[in-house]
């Protein structure tokens, strides 16, 4: 099966050590994590991990189910790129001199949608928010201008279709074991377990 990019959004309890438990799910299977971000979510005390892997759908499908088995994980969403809105941020440090000499800062900002976050006599820091190709294009461009430092953040993503897990978590939280668990609703719809 062919490999492609998948973005996993994992909602978890805020427990020390969970990042390790999630990471070993990947390392154990020799799957490299291309990007990993942890952040709070829309719900108090519930964390959201965003991971990017390049794998076949079949492998990811099994992996998602294994991650969902972790006791402290609420829910894993797994999406292809067309199902999400995603962004990364990058910072670039260049000597102000080279930039000033050769190009008009203003033009660069406009062309690449970049923002100058710091302008000092000795260096300037640009920021670009966007997807890989935008970030890389600007990177390639700045290589010609004596780029001093570059850093790119992990991917963060919002899923187009669903409304987040808020409602679901509130229900799970209701501490009522007799209530129908929502995450089983999709079990009888095989394909939807994966993408919805």
């Amino acid at each position: 099966m062919s490999k492609q990019e998948f973005t996993l959004s994992i909602y978890t309890e805020n427990h020390v050590g969970l990042i390790n438990k999630i990471a070993t799910m990947f390392t154990r299977r020799k799957i490299s994590i291309h990007s990993l971000n942890t952040s709070p979510s829309e719900i108090d005390n519930i964390y959201r991990f965003t991971l990017v892997v390049i794998e076949s759908a079949e492998v990811v499908q099994n992996l998602v189910k294994q991650i969902e088995k972790l006791v402290d994980v609420f829910k894993v969403f797994c999406n292809t790129n067309d199902e999400i809105i995603w962004q990364q941020m990058a910072l670039y440090k260049v000597p102000t001199q080279t930039i000033m000499k050769d190009i008009k800062v203003e033009r660069v900002l406009r062309e690449f949608g970049a923002k100058a976050v710091v302008i000092r006599e000795d260096y300037t820091i640009f920021e670009v928010t966007g997807q890989d190709d935008e970030i890389n294009k600007f990177l390639n461009f700045l290589h010609n201008y004596n780029l001093k430092e570059f850093v790119k953040s992990a991917r963060i993503a919002i899923i187009r279709a669903n409304e987040g897990v808020h409602k679901k978590v509130i229900e799970m939280d209701a501490n009522d074991p007799t209530k129908d668990p929502i995450n089983n609703e999709f079990l009888s719809k095989k394909t939807m377990v994966f993408n919805y």
Partner: protein, 581 residues
């Protein structure tokens, strides 16, 4: 041993100032834990100190190695259906648990391990006997957690027991720092956990897929049931039997599912797997509907996946959604606890018999009987076989004993030939294949089922892993019978060397101590059998003894276990002997 000086109430009353260790013991009593397997050390001393006041309530078995403790807890859990409990100290005490945790994890055994840990302020300082137990054990536990504050102890232990035994069971490890064990706090009492918000122990059953499964079964001409430990873990033996008898479908067990129904049930057609029976392996690729119940399609069961049951529609009943479609694609998945799904399925299926189809299994069984079983059980040569020992044990125990096996040829032989009339009679390390499992697991099994006969069967190799647990038998006197089938080789590995490595017997000839003398050194009676004429009497003497007893039987040095599905081959490529390889 039961000489508690202090008379204590059954439970510590709530809302008193007490320390974390007392809260630990109170949690165990509230969970009705009667038996703990453990080994003390610096970082868990406060808990042992608290235990000292309760030794008339909690039977603590001092093992001789922490690996022994966890295998004993596994044996206890497997024979009783209750949670096995382990105490161990920090550092080496905790790391000695790792093999057992991995074993319990892969075989879904409910175990709660409580480990001591260095003072919280020393964490991360390379303090004496500090190891990062949480990170070491994460991949081999269902859940683990480190407690650094006594206020957390009750809730965390309640959660531990709940997680260990609910849903698909598994091992849980709770690491408690010494300061938390010593800390005085306002104890609020213990309440069991019934819900963890991020955890769904089992799927809710939906009639739609039950109905689809029933229709598929009703339309099948050659249906075949394969069942695993899920039936036993779900305590659904009766529900399974009802299903089987109404459906009339031939059924085979995995090594972990063995004894869920009596092995001599007319619908039972034997064991699956690499050294299972000919008929169930071969017929997996003949059936039209394969109904898998509480099993996980391990590679030792399926052989080569692309040659596994390709012609069949597959119905898979499992409590763990991650098992569905993991290895074998299903036509109908039945998510849920088989205790709930099986009765629903039984309701919707037609009462049928499959005489002609069952006859096909019988024919293949006869072929195996003629080519292998008859000579294995009634050898014409002077050399003793493992099979005849098992056959005699069947006769002498009437199939009522619990068989605990180690790992290797004897394990396969014992599982192939044991008669088991009752559930929870087959205790073996299935998924991990842990040599050294048998002696401690048998000790635990006996404490878990004191009224049953427990027979541990092992090879001369495995007997020497965890043999120190004879000391535990000496001190605590569980009546377990130990049978060593000595082929003077690491037999299973030697077999593979013979078959696949041109008989290059690289480090598989193993020498052994005088096992009988060794047993005697531990105060355990024993006898060695080298001749058939002594075998039955000796085994009888062992079983008649009201104490533990060890029998060492010298068996053929280079016997092989057949049939065999060679690695990398499909189940239908099962061979009956060297000549077919």
């Amino acid at each position: 041993m039961n000489s508690a000086q202090t008379i204590v109430p059954k439970k510590v009353s709530a809302n008193i100032q007490t320390n974390g260790s007392v809260a630990v013991i109170d949690a165990l009593m509230s969970e009705n834990v009667t038996t703990v397997f453990g080994y003390p050390g610096g970082a868990i001393m406060p808990i042992y100190d608290a235990l000292y006041d309760y030794i008339d309530k909690i039977n603590h078995i001092l093992v001789r190695h922490e690996q022994g403790a966890i295998h004993a807890a596994q044996g206890f859990a497997r024979s009783s259906g209750e949670v096995g409990v382990v105490f161990a100290t920090s550092g080496p005490g905790a790391t000695n648990l790792v093999t057992g945790l991995a074993d319990a994890q892969i075989d879904s055994t409910p175990v709660v391990c409580i480990t001591g840990q260095v003072f919280a302020h020393l964490l991360g300082t390379d303090a004496f006997q500090e190891t990062d137990v949480i990170n070491i054990t994460s991949p081999v536990t269902k859940w683990n957690y480190q407690v650094t504050d006594a206020n957390e102890i009750s809730d965390v232990l309640a959660k531990a027991f709940y997680i260990a035994k609910s849903g698909r069971p598994g091992p849980v490890l709770i690491d408690i720092t010494k300061n938390a064990q010593l800390q005085m706090f306002d104890y609020k009492g213990y309440s069991p956990c019934i819900h963890v918000r991020s955890y769904r122990p089992k799927p809710i059953v939906r009639e739609t897929y039950i109905y689809e499964a029933a229709q598929l079964i009703n339309s099948a001409k050659k249906p075949f049931v394969i069942f695993g430990q899920g039936v036993i873990l779900g305590k659904a033996e009766q529900e399974f039997l009802d299903f089987l008898e109404k459906s009339g479908i031939p059924a085979a067990w995995t090594i972990m599912g063995m004894s869920a129904v009596p092995t001599d049930h007319p619908l039972c057609v034997g064991m699956l797997g690499m050294h299972g029976n000919l008929a169930p392996n071969y017929m997996t690729n003949q059936c039209d509907v394969l109904i898998a119940i509480g099993m996980r399609f391990d590679d030792r069961v399926t052989g080569r996946l692309d040659k596994y049951a390709k012609q069949a529609k597959v119905i898979h009943l499992d409590i763990d959604p991650a098992e569905i479609d993991k290895n074998v694609k299903t036509t109908v998945a039945v998510w849920g606890d088989c205790k709930e799904t099986l009765p629903l399925l039984t309701k919707h299926i037609e009462k049928r018999t499959h005489k002609a189809w069952l006859e096909e299994f019988r024919k293949l069984n006869q072929k195996e009987q003629d080519k292998i079983i008859t000579t294995e059980l009634n050898p014409a040569t002077d050399e003793l076989t493992m099979g005849e020992v098992i056959k005699l044990l069947n006769e002498l125990t009437n199939g009522e004993a619990i068989t605990v096996t180690d790992v290797g040829q004897h394990q396969m032989v014992a599982c192939r030939y044991s008669h088991q009339k009752n559930t929870r009679s087959n205790i073996t390390s299935g998924g991990l294949g842990t040599m050294g499992f048998a002696i401690p697991a048998a000790i635990g099994a006996k404490f878990g089922a004191p009224h049953r006969e427990v027979i541990a069967i092992m090879g001369d190799g495995g007997a020497q892993m965890n043999i120190q647990e004879l000391g535990t038998i000496m001190q605590f006197k569980p009546n377990v019978k130990i049978v060593i089938l000595n082929n003077q080789f690491l037999g299973m590995v030697r077999q593979w060397q013979e078959l696949f490595h041109e008989k290059r017997y690289s480090f598989t000839d193993i020498t052994s101590p005088d096992f009988v003398m060794l047993a005697q050194a531990y105060g355990i009676n024993g006898k060695k059998v080298t001749q058939r004429s002594n075998l039955k009497d000796t085994l009888n003497e062992m079983l008649q003894s009201n104490e533990s007893y060890l029998v060492e039987v010298m068996v053929g040095k280079q016997d092989n276990v057949f049939p065999m599905v060679p690695q990398g081959k499909g189940v239908a490529e099962i061979v009956l002997g060297v000549d077919e390889l």
